[in-house]
């Protein structure tokens, strides 16, 4: 079922009101036991072969078939009540073909040999119709077939195996902590995803993958009726490519924020109860926190904040389809064109080293093979401040005179056509020892920012503005109280060239974007961005407070 159909349908259900607004969480609503089932790989191979043979018979020079079961469970709570628990299953197949040098794609939820063969024939017919107005034939980078292979997210425990009551109890316990602490309102939720993806191509690959992702999150709100002010503080968790083990807190995964902030950051496990207690305290403090004085500040950015800035100003800017103009009508293009790269201007300062990594443990984007059957790996995007490479798919490699794809092809469902999506893009930590306190002690006038907030960037990735979840003033090397109404505006190149230092690997953590949107029709993808706490000098900070009525 298409998500937009699902959107229309679920409005009738008191229990299902929340799901429709969340991309990627469509599918038929099923009993939770269904989420533990799998489809026999021999059956999938037989189905895929039916599609590939039908495509070739209809005139395709290349074909791939993706048979996907996309499973999800989401739990939503509010204060003392469960608002919704939904178990979704979306099962079907998509067939992509090249005919007359043109792409064609069709999908079906009739997962039978006849159903897949029919979709393959339709895909060829669409390719042929479109080829009449096509000028340049598609050129694919060579790709060897891998035969029958498997890959699985290295999880300890599937979140779907954990009883729903246990997960609900955890969320309601967290809400109780917030209410005890004086929160006016609290919403908490848990998203869990399992993609059971099977890929086969006419080049001889049969790839079976089992991908898991999880995201616990909350928003605590404080309302001061007397002044009419309200403020909220979101979770400092990250969506992860992990199982339920992410929700089992471990001391080794906790990183103290700068002295005086009381903040804790989380690595490969998350302490929900601890974070919501801190969030409640901070939400109330935000009501009376000092409003920032606009001006230039040195910013010390926590990884759970900086990840989004990396995502927008480097991740999207170095996607080759954007660089070439394929996204011009929607998300836009990029300043980092091939001509710009040839000019050898610095993207950032010497300490800026950005690596793309499709296999990073715990990351949202970790897969063994992408959705066009390319084995994944790691490569440099920015080295010592210089742009050295882009993110590519098979049909783009020849444009930059390369002979291989980077494995950046992804579709968010069996009924979506695969296209170029962002890899995990991460800032490498300092090789020298540096803690967040070491970093803060040298800042004379600055702001420490943690967590995600408002974010906006132009269609070529020059000018951006970011808010955050919490803000602390830094004065003469020390944390000096909470600030509010903070947003920073900068130009991508100026900002990354103002990057003064990063903390070391002990401070390194992942940030995640669970619902990154791109393309027309829009598709979501999930991707992580790692970094240690990082300092940027002399960034323009504005005050966002306004008066109305």
């Amino acid at each position: 079922m298409k998500r937009r159909d699902f959107v229309g349908l679920t409005g009738l259900a008191t229990g299902a009101l929340f799901l429709p607004s969340i991309p990627g969480f469509g599918g038929a609503l099923v009993a939770p036991e269904r989420l533990l089932e799998t489809v026999d790989v021999a059956v999938k191979k037989r189905l895929a072969d039916a599609a590939l043979n039908a495509a070739k018979s209809a005139g395709a020079t290349y074909a791939d078939a993706r048979i996907g079961r996309y499973l999800n469970q989401s739990i939503f709570t509010r204060e003392k009540q469960v608002q919704n628990i939904a178990n979704g299953e979306s099962y079907g197949a998509g067939v992509r073909v090249l005919a007359n040098g043109t792409w064609g794609f069709a999908s079906t939820n009739d997962v039978t040999e006849a159903g897949l063969a029919k979709a393959a024939q339709l895909a060829v017919a669409i390719a042929k119709a479109n080829s009449k107005v096509q000028k340049d034939p598609v050129k694919l980078a060579a790709q060897k077939g891998y035969g029958e292979v498997v890959w699985k997210t290295p999880i300890v425990q599937s979140a779907f195996e954990v009883p729903i009551t246990q997960k609900v109890d955890l969320l309601l316990s967290a809400n109780a902590k917030a209410l005890e602490g004086g929160a006016s309102f609290v919403n908490s939720s848990l998203f869990q995803i399992n993609e059971q993806k099977y890929f086969a191509s006419t080049e001889g690959s049969y790839i079976d993958q089992d991908i898991h992702r999880i995201w616990p999150t909350f928003t605590v709100s404080a309302v001061d009726r007397a002044s009419g002010k309200f403020r909220s503080r979101q979770a400092l968790s990250a969506p992860m490519g992990m199982g339920y083990e992410y929700l089992v807190p471990k001391a080794k995964d906790k990183i103290a924020g700068p002295s005086g902030s009381g903040l804790v950051g989380y690595k490969m496990s998350y302490d929900l109860l601890e974070d919501i207690t801190a969030a409640t305290r901070e939400a109330k403090q935000k009501i009376t926190a000092k409003s920032v004085t606009p001006g230039k500040y040195d910013l010390v950015l926590d990884p759970n904040h900086l990840g989004l800035t990396i995502h927008e100003s480097i991740g999207h800017a170095t996607e080759l389809d954007r660089v070439l103009g394929y996204e011009a009508n929607y998300a836009g293009t990029s300043f980092a064109t091939l001509d710009w790269k040839a000019q050898k201007k610095p993207y950032g300062s010497k300490v800026v080293n950005i690596v793309a990594d499709k296999l990073q443990p715990g990351s949202l984007g970790a897969v063994g093979y992408d959705d066009e059957g390319v084995k994944t790996g790691q490569w440099d995007i920015i080295k010592d401040g210089m742009l050295v490479d882009y993110q590519k798919t098979r049909d783009q490699a020849h444009i930059v005179n390369q002979d291989h794809s980077d494995g950046c092809c992804y579709a968010d469902s069996w009924d979506s056509v695969q296209f170029q999506r962002m890899a995990n893009i991460s800032l490498q930590p300092n090789k020298q020892k540096m803690s967040v306190d070491d970093m803060v002690k040298n800042v004379d006038k600055g702001i420490y920012i943690a967590g995600r907030g408002s974010f906006s960037i132009d269609q070529q990735r020059y000018n951006f503005q970011f808010g955050g979840t919490t803000f602390y003033a830094i004065e003469k090397g020390k944390i000096a109280g909470m600030l509010e109404d903070v947003a920073y505006q900068a130009n991508t190149q100026e900002f990354w060239n103002s990057c003064a230092a990063t903390c070391d690997k002990d401070d390194y953590r992942l940030f995640g974007s669970f619902f990154d949107g791109k393309g027309q029709p829009a598709q979501v993808s999930a991707v992580s961005h790692g970094s240690a706490t990082t300092r940027f000098n002399g960034v323009n900070v504005i005050n966002t407070a306004r008066k109305i009525g």
Partner: protein, 444 residues
Amino acid sequence: MAILSQSEAQAILTKVLSFSKADECEASLSGNIGGNVRTARNTISTSGANDNVSLAVESRFGKRSGVATCNQFDDATLRNCVQRAEEIARLAPESPEYMPLLGPQQYVAAPDSFSQRTAAINPDYRATQVAAGMQLCDQQKLSSAAFLEDSAGFRAVRNSKGLQAYQQRSGITYSVTVRTPDGTGSGYATADYNDASKLDTTALTATAAKKAAMSREAKAIEPGKYTVIMEPAALVANTDASLLAALMGALDARNADEGRSFLSKKGGGNKKGEKLFDERVTIYSDPTNPEIADLTFSGDGRPHQKTTWIEKGVVKNLYTSRYWAQKAGIPDIPRPNGWIMEGGTQSLEDMIKGTAKGILVTRLWYIRPVDPQTLLYTGLTRDGTFYIENGKIKHPVKNFRFNESPIIMLNNLEAIGKPVRMGGNLVPPLKIRDFTFTSLSDAV
């Protein structure tokens, strides 16, 4: 199979209800056929098609509710779907916000919501429509990227309390961005209709091409407060957040009553009945308007009727869930689909002629909330931003980032033009004084 008739749809729903053993049961059937084609660099990049019918069943035992869905309609599958909904309902926690299902309702007619011409679209039509724009850009040595998407279908609902609803609807949307080959100029145009025969992709591409050519060699002017003329596409977007949609999306009664909305009052209560905008601001919804006809029933079966939201600057109504309406003792009004902002008779050209100094904005982009307390949003201008002097477009200007609230914007109103359809709404171009641009962008 995707567009079932009223009798075909209600026959399936009647059968579903006959299988129910629950205290209450509601079934909804929805079907769509449609497709899309996407172009970039004057060639087709991707395309797709869909054809699907889905059934959702909600079963209730007391205050417990369960939902299951399926997309096959033989008796065994329907029975299984109903049973699954009942199993899920039995396991569900009681909803403290339970409301009984609605009984029979009266719905107004909106025949213009569906067009057979849209339902008849095939892949050749789509390829031909986008080819016309690509050809124009090839001739003018410009580069276009466009997206055409159409859909036609129906929705039907029936429940054990006697509610019945059925309606067909269709829609088509085209958007195009045209850029100069050197990357120094960019223009945009978009339109959407129920009836595909109203769509003129060549004219829209010509508009975008003209703006691309006109926007080359943009001059930088200092950010600050400017008089702006916002085209409708700058006020409402088809696919992204927008300033007017943000305002309409904030008219929720519960958030206002709970103290976490710009409509919350100091000390408690909400600002319904207060004048918060310029007295020329009137916004209402009417699903029967032939220009933007849409479903006349909401997801939970409540009728969509003509409703005034803001009248002469005064907040007249807030939308609400059925639960909150009952708890707060307020009118039970569902959130509207499309809405209409009343305008004048002035064309965009008239508005430019009447402007001594100002900036014409084609499109705003990447609009995100900054402060929900004041509905402050940030974003940027894009694809055609021009300086106006003495009633004429003088030259293109570099793009700006703005930080502005639609509440402040609709208090600083200078003029309202003639509304046009945009994203399923009727939106006039607006002339606004003191619009706050906070920085420059190098983006084209």
